[in-house]
Symmetry: C3
Subunit: 352 residues, 3 copies
């Protein structure tokens, strides 16, 4: 009569090169899309309307990139981060193929780095996770690293391996959806007049609006993604934690920020890469999330005179409008309001 419940993996359970096939394949549906719209108010036209998607060469509206990301990510939690202390960062995230209603997503992860912390009570696990659809095609892959508790502080430390990770997905590694044809692109449908040429390096955009988070909202979202991290759901436990409250899943903030970014980046229809990301501080129900973005790079795409890329840094804050672009100070410390610092690359039509 073995213990039947899943204690999750601890730091010493991971080994370099280990591959984990995560549980619970998930068929995504129009219901997931509706909930995503209800949770974030997303208005990017490609994901909102089949007619728009078809005019751009797609068979129908694909899922919002970040919705697919959360679905892929959620599956990893039970094996990777159930005993995590902190989710430290993201790198090298690429969106390979669009995800459509009816697709079934699965996720596998490979351990690509390990580093025990100096105290010997925990360690950092570097993991590349790959989301695959029912055709065996990669839809998303990304690296994250996470600090995980040890079960037994006496267990020996593994050899330290820190993977080489790019600061940014290189231009030659960016994936432009092959179906994408912007010859019929309609800026009126899209809701914004600014195209690739209109953005300049270093430009900063205040996305103006703010969304206040409710407990029911972030829990609905996080369960929709089948993300099982306890800290999001159990106030009876959390009330006795240093936070005293349930933590909002970091990906919820990413989606709120992406949705807010419509106001200023309405034509940035496709997220092509997540270059880096950091959940700078936790968010809680009652926080109002604002966001601003900086144009980190304006990139031509080889062979695509019709589309360009923007490398963006989007900062999300809580209870702090972003007209003055709250950021790090000279000492490298973030403004107290900052909760997310996300570096990602979007595709956007060019004016021809």
């Amino acid at each position: 009569m073995a213990n039947k419940t899943n204690p999750g993996n601890f730091f010493e359970d991971f080994s370099l090169g280990q591959v984990l096939v995560h549980a619970t394949p998930r068929t995504v549906s129009e219901g997931d899309i509706s909930l995503y719209t209800a949770l974030y108010g997303s208005r990017f036209a490609l994901q909102s309307a089949d007619t728009v998607a078809q005019s751009l060469g797609y068979p129908g509206a694909p899922l919002d990139d970040l919705l697919a990301f959360h679905m892929v990510f959620g599956k990893t939690v039970g094996d990777i981060s159930l005993n995590a202390i902190a989710n430290l960062g993201y790198a090298d995230g690429r969106f390979h193929a669009p995800v459509y209603p009816g697709d079934t997503l699965r996720t596998t992860s490979e351990i690509i780095g390990l580093k025990e912390n100096s105290k010997g009570t925990s360690g950092v696990v570097y993991v590349r996770s790959t989301g695959i659809n029912q055709h065996g095609e990669i839809v998303i892959d990304y690296v994250r690293w996470v600090m995980v508790r040890k079960r037994d502080p006496q267990s020996p430390a593994p050899d330290t391996v820190i993977p080489q990770l790019p600061d940014c997905v290189a231009l030659e590694n960016l994936i432009v959806p092959s179906e994408l044809d912007v010859s019929q692109y309609d800026i009126t449908d899209a809701g914004g007049v600014h195209l690739w040429q209109d953005y300049t390096l270093g430009e900063r955009i205040d996305h103006v609006d703010g969304f206040t988070i409710e407990e029911a909202e972030h829990m609905l979202a996080t369960r929709l993604y089948q993300n099982t991290a306890k800290v999001h759901f159990n106030q009876h436990i959390q009330k006795d934690s240093p936070m005293t409250r349930r933590l909002v899943y970091g990906g919820h903030i990413m989606s709120l920020a992406r949705s807010l970014s419509f106001n200023g980046l309405a034509n940035a229809q496709w997220v092509a890469a997540i270059n880096a990301g950091r959940h700078v501080a936790p968010s809680f129900a009652g926080d109002t999330i604002y966001a601003w973005s900086e144009i980190l790079d304006v990139l031509e795409l080889p062979g695509r005179p019709d589309i360009g890329a923007l490398r963006l840094r989007t900062i999300a804050t809580k209870d702090q409008p972003c007209g003055e672009f709250p950021d790090k100070n000279d000492a490298g410390d973030y403004h107290a309001s900052v909760v997310l610092d996300l570096d990602y690359t979007v595709l956007i039509p060019r004016r021809m």
Copy 2:
């Protein structure tokens, strides 16, 4: 490097005859229907079951009329009412064609009237908005008027034009869905025994039940409709407003009242027209919404011995049961509990 964010239109940005094509076409889905059911508990049989809809001549269950209305309405906010002070009224709203899952809705608006207010700081904009499906068919059109701030109080006033609007959509302008065949109508499925003949002019019906509104609910609804009005979402700003709280989208109250009206009007399967409507007072999370209805007219439909129409006035209140029909007093002032006064026309089978 132009400002990239959308400031919305101000009063002086509108001109008579101006046509606005609103952003973000939206493919509606079964997911939207499920959320609508979860938000309002709607039980009208035509919209609840494909089998019922098919027995009535439809290819499948259409969206609830008001769900389609909110989708069409939501698109107008970014262009029409982002700088609105108040949504003043509705008129001449007609439901032309059923909306089905898979349909894509777009909205255009024409400015049909303008009147600067005496202080010169704002003005009333009259707009006819038209929702169109992917076949180019009109699904809904309606007029609303809204008080919009001026950007610059010094800008000149336009000529005053106040459109002629009907008090009520005239009988000859009511649209009866051509597919509609009630020869198989089943009052047991529908959940009510009272048909057209059973309602009398001046009759008043207390809908008995009440729904308490939560912040998460009205925000999920309003984002589902891609309605971007800031006052619904941002407590960080609203806490410093005279209201101190987020306002509930007025259409949320319309849908709650329509859902409550099932208890007494279960066979009123189709909303055919919105004759007039006024959001008498704001609603907030924590309010419990009740409703009652008055039969304003009992109308025969030419050539349709099987169906009749009822012109209804539905009053929604907050924190006030409606057994005593709270209404205006003799001075024309509303009872303090009233939040909505909606005049609309429904279609209902006749006993043959």
Copy 3:
């Protein structure tokens, strides 16, 4: 001009053998499934992925059994329990046929027992409710009994008839879905290594995790099921009740407990029967629900060497982790934290 609103049935309105055809057929959809996932975080693989379902012989992923149950149950409320004082118990519940998106569910009920209470102000109604799909196939049937107010305490008592009900659905009455073929069953997809052989009579499993309930969540759920019981929705009334708060629909707790039970029973893919059930105490928003299960029986299924059954008793608590298995004491009184005691039978693959 008759009263148009539905007062519900009172105890004296029921008669032995009476059949009630309940209102509002409901076509279930992928939207309902997404909402169910968002509300409960369910992770059983059969219901999560079409690919998994197809590998097990199904045409696609069926609805979670309890989602179908709530849909069938919800329809009965308006006729059976609008004037109920308490929902006393369940028995003899069987899941006959899988329910798929696109199916339309209807419910009928037969009165199978009546017993007036000694005070003469109320009585117990025993009812067998049957959910039917659009093909006329039974999908679910179950018995519940409920205490219902009398309209008139002077009305005569009916003859007392208490139906013979099984303590448990007998092995020979359990329905194993005929499509079910576990030859391709994948425990990695399913997320758990423990199969039928691994469970032992009397074993107890703490499901570890907890979910805190929000008002918006239980109301969204209950409306999704078109369950109209007033106590769940109207704080304006409930604030003056002995509870002072809205009650959570008991079925919401059942689904939370079933979802929590994944941690320990991940391969228990199918609920085949509800043997008995009691809502021991009410739950409210703010409660954190935990659960534990006891293996009441380990059953071989005749002719099915590939699948077995487990009869389970799942106890849900509020604000009480279940590591010490809170239960009844020797006097038969429940631990103060217990809110649900559910006896049901699940199907689970056998190791061959």
